[in-house]
Subunit: 215 residues, 4 copies
DNA sequence: GATGAATGAGACTTCATTCAT
DNA sequence: TATGAATGAAGTCTCATTCAT
């Protein structure tokens, strides 16, 4: 986990690479499960190999190092975690039927909850390593800033231009917003792993945030 | 990190134990720094020993296992992290000059921010391992529920009885509150390690929460 | 050396396992020599690795723990040490040409002396650990009772039915017999490691036992 | 356990030394128990210290090394294990009322069984280490030959001169005798630690030996 | 005489990684 | 592509022993 800027390179590389073999799929799936459960540092490649019913050498044939195995899990996920959603949502906002920030927030929560539910374990891996692993954090930060903060900013601007969320100091309030959103997803998906989020709770969250912002 | 219910036992044990030697203090201090920086799993006892200018054996003479070294850091801190504060605050509320939930929240944030600033690294260790280490999480959860949730609940009740925070579904709203508070402290002290919290931001946070709750 | 009943399991496991690599053979051979000479507890895996010209990790790759290395030496030997011989001898007695207990005893001594001479070191390991290691003793005792005492008892019965060894309290006399046999093999093969047993001494031993029994 | 001829020196030294303190007694007693149970190599000085309720340093203050602690247990016992008995018995034979080798053997077994019962654990330590520890065996062998074999030989001669045990090749038969005696005491006191020897069994043993010898 | 903190060599074991097949 | 034997560095931990108090 030493080289920098490898995220970009890796994304390129993955885009170009052939499609996975069956063994590769098993390796990735098993690694996700184990990394999510016990963390990257506490999971040995031997354990992954055994549980994936694959020779240990096979892992290294495909991924070279354990580090790159981790990135092979995280990187393709990164592209989906915010951007795709953001683009989607931005499309909806601009074009169609999302008129208020309330609606946007509700859509955002609903959409992401569904996405994280479908990829809970990868999200756990990502969060755990993001917090635990200094090097990875340094790697991910610029990516995160660029893709998440920026787009969210734009959306925020959009609604301010429309007359919503007026007279609010954007930077300061967005911090509060992200603080809550981060706390929400991490607590529900990483810490309380068996938690189920209800429709009602989404409404609570949206209301909490909206009131907080408007204050 | 296998045996359960060792928290209680360890607390007893520590209360009874003689006071630390100079070397012990150096070990603990160094371990805190390294665990905070790189995480427990990525820090070797050899590294701790070297940086603490102590023989590796000395660590094990005093703490037996690396696990127990971690707990020797976390456990004494746990007792201070919430209860003491809560008791203090409860005293202030009941007796003296805290009249509103706003005031309480502001006091809480101010007080804990100071405390975590003074113990930033231990807090980082605690949070990182809480998220990373399943076993430790299981160990800490009951303690957390009992000491944090319970006391907060009482305080909440207190203000509801006084007429504040009326007509609010306590359980649901407290969840939002904790979500925000958790997100706030973790992001500021664990992720953004060089962040400085201003007076202004505390006010933002209090306002955000109060509006969120009242809504 | 903690889990019980692992003997049976290990036997199964070994029967199923692939055949040894060259390195494994060197490891086992070297371990036998060193354990025989200095005892299991006084032999380090580093020493075994060095003398076997193998990386220390290789030992653990194959045998997992030092304990299992010891058992990997002892277990396959156990199956040969008595049962096979007993079956052979029983066959001879029943079918062919062993008519008297004298003959049987002489055959037994001769056969086992040859066997132990060919496997002197493993026998030394077995005896030393049997005496030294409480856990191993508990593990081996039931096996020993079942395979050795039982078969010997049957043979004894056989000759009593034929009219030999009459009027002798079987249990009490067999104790004396085993006492002598045990003393004989342990002293000659484990304590006096350079001792050579002559034909004459075998006769002495048989005569000593036969007289002792008949008395 | 390196230096040779230290047995003699140690005996002198012990004879000259002051009498033991209370702590020393506890150390020795605890060490005997632990060495008997688990063997010298598997017992740490830390464990002895803890169980003896003594600081680890105290053990080394008194005994210098763990080796010398072992010898401090074995050496005083050695002087009693055969010589004293032999002298006693020789006295009885010469002067008083032991007329036959039968009687002598019965006396010998009875006397030594009582002695070993009273010092079972030290005997276990002695035997286990004698078998396990090459260096100690080399140390003890000459002592054993001189004190045990020699005296036994004299006694044997005595009875042969009296007309008993005639026409028997002394060397060969004494080997059988020692083989049995060794097997008897080791099996009963070291291997079958909870065994109780009955009067009847002593008679069996004497009869077995006498017949064996006379044959 | 007794303590117990401290040591550092060395024990067993784990691990990511390599490479011949 | 896949294997799995082999590696050796590094990890945690144990131990007999020393020494200042």
């Amino acid at each position: 986990m030493t080289k920098s800027k490898l995220l970009e390179g890796l994304m390129q590389e993955m885009a170009n690479s052939k499609k996975q073999t069956v063994k590769q799929q098993k390796i990735i799936q098993t690694a996700i499960e184990l990394f999510a459960e016990k963390g990257y540092a506490n999971t040995s490649t031997a354990e992954i190999a055994k549980q994936a019913e694959v020779a240990e050498g096979t892992i290294f044939k495909h991924y070279g190092t354990k580090d790159r195995l981790l990135l092979s899990i995280i990187v393709p996920y990164l592209k989906e975690i915010f951007p795709s959603m953001a683009d989607e949502v931005i499309g909806e906002i601009m074009g169609r039927n999302i008129a208020t920030f309330d609606e946007f927030l509700k859509g955002f929560f609903t959409n992401r909850i569904q996405f994280f539910n479908e990829n809970k374990e990868i999200f756990q891996v990502l969060v755990k390593e993001f917090i635990y692993n200094q090097e990875l954090r340094n790697e991910l930060f610029p990516y995160f800033s660029e893709n998440v903060l920026l787009r969210f900013g734009k959306i925020f601007d959009h609604f301010q231009e429309r007359g919503e969320l007026e007279n609010i100091p954007r930077e300061r309030v967005m911090k509060m917003l992200f603080t809550f959103i981060g706390g929400f997803f991490v607590s529900r998906f990483v810490i309380l792993t068996d938690y189920t989020i209800t429709e009602e709770e989404i409404d609570d969250a949206v209301r909490f945030v909206m009131n907080g912002l408007r204050g």
